[in-house]
């Protein structure tokens, strides 16, 4: 077999927090596409978010089950077969399941640009290695993994932010502040996130902490 792949969605191994990595598993490089089930962390199918950082258009298709979308403050009933297209990247969107087995397909990309894999997807392998260490409170070891990620080319705001968290908890104040500043330079939304992130409690009162 060459040039094509066919499979059932259930054959694609799920990753963390409801993510079924359709694009990565099939080797698609021309557009973003994934499937999502109920997340363990907050019970949502699609976490409430915007696409300011990527400027992506996003199209959602309720592949199975029944969900309620919240888009731009509006509630949208979305039984199986519903298509929700969010063209404005500034609009907040998310979905909660009505049926527990709800699956939503997402497709996206930035108009006018060749598709590139989003940072959150590229970061997954590195975070998968680092977060068990973080949960075991091995903060310096978790930071070492993400330093390796940066050295390997995963030099993006999400990695720098998590690295800042680990360094803060490891007691490496100067490097934590430097990494946090780098994260915010890459994505201003991390400034607000850092204000409420308890990982930064050890360095929050430092005069160099971004406000």
């Amino acid at each position: 077999m060459s040039g094509w792949r066919a499979m059932q969605l259930e054959e694609i191994p799920a990753r963390n927090n409801g993510w079924i990595p359709v694009r990565d598993h099939l080797g698609i490089t021309a557009f973003g596409v994934n499937a999502w089930t109920k997340r363990e962390t907050d019970g949502a199918v699609i976490a409430q978010h915007d696409e300011k950082g990527t400027a992506h258009e996003e199209l959602y298709y309720v592949f199975r089950g029944h969900a309620t979308f919240t888009v731009d403050g509006d509630e949208v009933d979305a039984p199986e077969g519903t298509i929700v297209f969010v063209r404005d990247p500034n609009v907040s969107r998310g979905a909660t399941p009505i049926d527990d087995d709800t699956i939503i397909l997402t497709a996206g990309g930035k108009p006018g640009e060749t598709f590139t894999v989003s940072d959150w997807e590229r970061n997954w392998e590195w975070n998968r290695r680092a977060f068990p260490l973080y949960r075991d409170k091995k903060y310096a070891e978790a930071a070492a993994v993400l330093r390796e990620a940066v050295a390997a080319g995963a030099d993006n705001a999400g990695i720098h932010y998590n690295l800042a968290c680990f360094l803060s908890l490891a007691g490496d104040t100067d490097d934590a502040l430097a990494e946090l500043r780098t994260a915010i330079e890459g994505d201003e939304s991390f400034r607000e996130l850092a204000r409420h992130d308890s990982d930064f409690d050890p360095i929050r009162n430092d005069p160099g902490f971004p406000t």
Partner: protein, 203 residues
């Protein structure tokens, strides 16, 4: 025109535009003006109908992902058959693979996504002529002129515009567009000679 920040539709509410061999095009990209990638649905009402037309992506060089969302289909990819009940994902990376799908259950519907990995997405010209033939000749001609504003000098759009103008009796304009289509791609000449829409234009 101001666009809303988001739109919602059920797949059952999409337009149904007949194409060939029972295949119905259900436009999504065009309805929402999606600009990042191609996205459409296709439905075959009867078993045995086409639910993906036979084609390659040799010209556009698109990767394509087909998702069977309703019913049951059977894909043929080059010479291989693939059983594809609802829930099947078929990703065709190689644009030169010849692809086709037949419906095996009433109402089989396939969602299709596509784009080139090497360049920014641009809506495909075929969308304009698929829609043009579903409308009146006046509306069809307007749709094709709109297509030419996005794809200037596209031979197929020029050819189909000539057909619409032929149906409307605008022989001079039709002749001009047909001549330009043939000048850009001489393969249109042979098709024109047996095309009833152009009988008066070629008389």
């Amino acid at each position: 025109m101001t666009q809303q920040p988001y739109d919602v539709v059920s797949i059952d509410e999409l337009d149904r535009i007949p194409v060939m061999h029972g295949l119905e095009w259900r436009p999504i990209r065009r309805r929402f003006d999606v600009r990042a990638h191609g996205v459409n649905a296709y439905t075959a009402e009867n078993p045995g109908d086409w639910v993906v037309e036979e084609h390659t992506e040799g010209n556009l060089r698109h990767q394509e992902l087909y998702v069977v969302v309703r019913g049951h289909a059977r894909f043929t990819l080059d010479d291989e058959d693939v059983d594809a009940p609802a829930g099947t994902f078929v990703f065709i990376e190689d644009p030169d693979v010849k692809r086709k799908a037949i419906s095996e259950e009433p109402g089989t519907t396939v969602l299709a996504l596509g784009a080139s990995p090497d360049e920014p997405y641009k809506p495909s010209a075929w969308e304009w002529w698929f829609e043009a033939y579903a409308r009146s000749p006046e509306e069809g001609a307007a749709i094709l002129r709109d297509g030419l504003s996005e794809h200037p000098d596209h031979p197929a759009l020029l050819y189909h515009l000539a057909c619409m103008e032929g149906k409307l009796g605008n022989i001079g304009e039709a002749r001009g567009h047909l001549d330009r289509a043939i000048e850009l791609d001489p393969r249109w000449r042979e098709r024109a000679e047996s095309d009833e829409d152009l009988t008066a234009v070629l008389a």
